[in-house]
Symmetry: C2
Subunit: 265 residues, 2 copies
């Protein structure tokens, strides 16, 4: 471990951590911010993304040794006192654990799909624009063993700081990729032998009766508008039965129910 004390908030070595919240909004040139113990652990152990460095509050360092030792021996661990860390981050960092990860080159969705095993569960997201929901869906995808998450271009970024935190690191573990053309993507899934189910309040089949299959794709849309009608006509539609007068679940809650159903072997 390469421990580097930082006394000056302006030290160029911690420039990637400056004004964390402001830079959530403008992006980070191929980097993302991971925060908290569990997320740091997943970043260093899942191996899906390279970690560039960590910035740790000095009194948290001892407790993090087992996790930090999962990084290469030359991995820079910047260590700062509370006041310095708060001035770097631009707000009070009570957790005291930050790391920078590298996004790497995004994989095309088709390539990700082609690498999936014969038994595979894929989650397809269309228009999920809320980071809380995005993070929660990734957490559920990991909990129920989904093999991949595929996102259309109108979805928000799973590597946004808050989405990673809400996912409890699952966004750093479950492989994901984006696609441009939903119709072409649906045709690819078809060709690869995926049964394709779309969750919709007006779905024709109760999810309890939805058949499992070796390769299965579950489509989830936004809460307000749901999945586009032209997509619904091309897929099997499933609904979650609700109490009378209710037709709306949070999309993350719906994903939990549907993934739990389809994860049964």
């Amino acid at each position: 471990m390469n421990i580097i004390p930082i006394d000056d908030p302006g030290d160029p070595r911690v420039a990637a951590y400056l004004d964390i919240r402001e830079r959530d909004l403008v992006g980070r040139h191929g980097r993302f911010v991971a925060e908290g113990k569990v997320v740091l652990d997943l970043l260093l152990s899942a191996g899906r993304f390279a970690a560039e460095s960590a910035l740790i509050l000095e009194n948290r360092l001892a407790g993090l040794q087992p996790i930090l030792h999962k990084a290469p021996s030359d991995f820079p661990v910047y260590v700062a006192a509370g006041e310095v860390m708060d001035r770097i981050a631009g707000f009070h960092m009570h957790r005291g654990i930050l790391a920078i990860g590298m996004r790497g080159d995004p994989a095309p969705a088709e390539l990700l799909l082609q690498g999936l095993p014969r038994h595979a569960l894929a989650v397809v997201l269309v228009g999920i624009s809320n980071h809380d929901n995005m993070g929660a869906i990734f957490r559920n995808a990991a909990a129920f063993g989904a093999d991949a998450v595929l996102l259309d271009r109108t979805c928000c970024d799973p590597l946004y700081r808050k989405a990673i935190r809400i996912s409890v690191g699952a966004a750093l573990k479950v492989p994901f990729a984006s696609f441009d053309d939903t119709a072409a993507f649906t045709a690819t899934l078809d060709r690869l032998g995926f049964s394709q189910f779309a969750l919709s309040p007006r779905g024709t089949t109760d999810i309890r009766a939805a058949q499992h299959s070796a390769r299965l794709a579950l489509y989830l849309g936004t809460e307000g508008e749901g999945l586009p009608p032209d997509l619904l006509t091309r897929l099997h539609t499933v609904r979650i039965a609700m109490a009378e007068g209710f037709d709306s679940l949070n999309v993350a809650a719906a994903s939990a129910i549907a993934l739990h159903h389809f994860s049964a072997r």
Copy 2:
């Protein structure tokens, strides 16, 4: 409808709306704040809580007529321009729809239980301290037709502004009550003929195999520590099967899966 224009942020008639966020933390002497169109609608139509007044951004008033007409004709509807409303609330109120509700006297949990029908689904919360989770659990409780939510004294307040918002108003609709002594409460449920299930990662029965019964109580605990061991030994324990290496779902996601299971007729 009793429309009252407000030009002065210091007008004593809108004192209940002053510094909304600050007062989230210190309480409101028997009142709560409802915000947004759907929540206002539920407040005025569910009839569970009395509404004291509404504060509406002037350009939202026309669109809210059908909802506001559900209130008594003398119900005060304060109307303000954006700048005045922001100064009252203490932050930028882009939704422009606020209302004050009255908590009324809290019902004892035993009384609420005694009034439940022969077929009843009760949700029992122990130590749920996060308002997002509280709101999401209420939303799921409403979606799956739960008849009541019972809270131990360590739970947070379902009528906290953000909890109501996340519940999409379900906290104003699903009856709830608090209990002091969990052991005595469990005995009461027993006496009233409730089958009692506790959700736990180490539950003995897979939720998919959990038997339905006419009267059923589902216990949910905190994410970190879960339900207290002495409670688990007294109840049927059920688990949600997860992918290998995973043993933690968000409690709201877990509530969605369990309530969906037990709501099936």
